[in-house]
């Protein structure tokens, strides 16, 4: 049996999730915006045809969208996360070994499937995902991850292939590679692309034919690995068991600039609350947090300031209250009174590394935190928030969710169709 890896991904995934629940979105241009409704991060084919680029700032295309009746949505991550989980459940029924690479891409191990059956399986998978979840996908198959990714690119660009492309056959592979730009190869970024062009490497075939050893000098080890992978020699294994979380971060851009200390404190406290939730979910704890906040690089001419402060805790904890204390301490140590032209802060966050399992964390001899009471209180808070919706119970310093003026904006978000009973879609039984 030859090794075979499939890459399956959703077509315009975020847009497709929106389309599942609203038939009026079929056939019309749809885009989804990033946090704070900043940039277009997902576009349907119709939106791409209007010339809307990936990552284009929304304010630049607002008029175009209005003129062309583009349907614009804020990111609805509750929905996209749920739809992604559904899709991966279906994938696992076709191939038990699945590596979830990102929210809309998964690698499947098809090595145990007979070579001549792989395309049929991929077609079956594709139509099952479409039928069960409503999501359109494309599948690329190859002996390595890089080739699976390339096959997926071909499946996406050549409609005649019906959404599936198999590059298992070496001759067929070679024929495709001559016609595809080297920039389409997984892992070739803008910098390496410029270097490759200077070397006269234009197509995927050119890259494959480079001598890997000398290529290492100009393209680093990563480039050398890509060449091996393009030749069919697998260098990247399927990561079926995800790596244990090593660090954790909660960072947000504010919907508008912050100049007041109390508002910044509230934001940082809210981030600390969220950090606590994330840590508790995994049974992890931290003994230090880095607090940062800064002004925006887009505010040219305004005074600039970027602050980062490490705060140590008496012992490892995941109690939101202790994390808030630490975060506020970080602000207190670094806050500078505003002058006549104030610093207008655009983003704040908490970053932690060296996560440890709470149970195994060493206890200090003196000044230990009350872990038992804390655990019970935090569990009660988490239970309330899971039962009544996130933000139902918050530490006072973090402020009520509805009253946080700085919260990331999602003004055009669709309902959380699949995770909130109060927001499930409506079906009409009416004349």
């Amino acid at each position: 049996m030859s090794r075979a890896i499939a890459l399956i991904d959703g077509n315009s995934f975020y847009c497709s999730c929106e389309r599942v629940f609203d038939p009026k979105l079929t056939g019309v241009p749809v885009i989804v915006l990033s946090n704070n409704d900043g940039c277009a991060i997902a576009r349907t084919a119709e939106a791409k045809a209007l010339g809307i680029k990936m990552g284009e700032p929304y304010f630049k295309i607002r008029d175009l969208c209005r003129r062309q009746k583009v349907r614009v949505f804020s990111s609805n991550y509750a929905l996209y996360g749920d739809m992604s989980a559904r899709a991966n459940t279906v994938y696992r029924q076709f191939a038990p070994d699945v590596e979830i690479y990102s929210i809309d891409e998964s690698f499947l191990d098809l090595s145990d499937v007979r070579e001549r059956d792989r395309v049929a399986l991929a077609r079956d998978l594709r139509s099952t995902v479409r039928q069960w979840t409503g999501l359109p996908t494309c599948v690329g198959i190859g002996p390595t991850k890089t080739l699976a990714k390339l096959a997926n690119h071909i499946a996406k660009t050549i409609p005649e292939l019906g959404g599936v492309c198999d590059l298992s056959d070496e001759a067929e592979r070679a024929a495709w590679m001559v016609g595809i730009s080297v920039g389409e190869v997984w892992g070739i970024g803008r910098a390496s692309l410029a270097r490759l062009t200077a070397m006269g490497v234009d197509t995927v075939a050119d890259l494959r034919d480079l001598d890997p050893r000398p290529a290492r000098q100009s393209l680093t080890v990563v480039g050398e690995r890509i060449i091996h992978e393009l030749r069919g020699r697998a260098c990247l294994p399927l990561e079926i068991v995800p790596a244990r979380r090593k660090g954790c971060a909660v960072t947000r851009s504010f919907s508008s600039r912050i100049t007041e200390r109390t508002v910044l404190e509230q934001a940082v406290a809210a981030h600390a609350t969220r950090l606590g939730e994330k840590l508790r979910r995994d049974g992890l704890a931290v003994s230090a947090v880095t607090v940062f906040y800064h002004t925006s690089e887009h505010d040219r001419g305004d005074p600039m300031r970027a602050v980062s402060k490490v705060v140590h805790l008496p012992e490892a904890t995941n109690d939101s209250r202790h994390l808030i204390q630490a975060a506020l301490h970080g602000v207190a140590k670094t806050w500078r009174e505003q002058g006549p032209t104030p610093w207008r802060y655009s983003k704040a966050g908490l970053v932690t590394k060296d996560l440890v399992p709470l149970d195994g964390a060493p206890r200090p001899l003196f000044g230990a935190l009350d872990r038992e009471k804390s655990g019970a209180l935090m569990a009660a808070m988490d239970a309330c928030n899971s039962r009544f919706g996130r933000g139902a119970v918050v530490p006072a310093r973090a402020g009520l969710v509805e009253k946080r003026t700085w919260s990331t904006k999602f003004e055009m978000r669709s309902p959380r169709f699949t995770t909130r009973l109060s927001e499930v879609p409506r079906v009409f039984a009416a004349q």
Binding site: A85, T133, R244, T418, L421, A429
Partner: protein, 154 residues
């Protein structure tokens, strides 16, 4: 009775394992941007939902399916993996809107009808192209206690 979540990775054959809605771990590639927005998923007992990834909940608006025992404000639990048969209640796109109708097969002709003795209009399905039929109703839910519903359907 074990609970599990619609949309969750399916449990083992015994249905006793409750797998978290989304694995709280790192992706090898890009960390999920959804991670900070993951919600507790809607929970239903396992025996009610044979195929969670294909099961979706809708809220019914209107009285046209009263004859099928489906009232205004009921929840419609729809399984997209079920194949429609004559007499099935389905969610379908009619006039650009999601509509709950009864599917009637007479010979080769497929049509959608209301199910309310007080109305008898019939919609003919000209052609059944992909996407027109959204899913098949598995069951519906109605709270008979108004206060209980208010507290549950937040």
């Amino acid at each position: 009775m074990s609970l599990y979540r619609v949309g969750a990775a399916a449990a083992d054959a015994g249905g006793l394992v409750r797998i978290p809605f989304m694995l709280p771990t790192l992706c090898a590639g890009f960390p999920s941007p959804a991670e900070d927005f993951i919600e507790g998923a809607l929970e239903l007992p396992r025996w009610l939902v044979p195929n969670p990834p294909a099961t979706f909940i809708w809220r019914v608006r209107g009285w046209c399916m009263k004859g099928a025992g489906i009232h205004d404000e009921d929840l419609a639990v729809v399984d997209r993996s079920l194949s429609p048969s004559s007499g099935a209640v389905v969610v379908a796109v009619v006039g650009g809107e999601m509509s709950l109708k009864r599917l009637v097969m007479t010979g080769n002709r497929l049509s959608l009808t209301f199910d309310n003795p007080e109305m008898d209009e019939e919609f003919a399905l000209e052609d059944l192209e992909e996407g027109l039929l959204w899913g098949v109703l598995l069951f519906s839910v109605r709270w008979h206690h108004v206060k209980a519903r208010a507290s549950l359907v937040r």
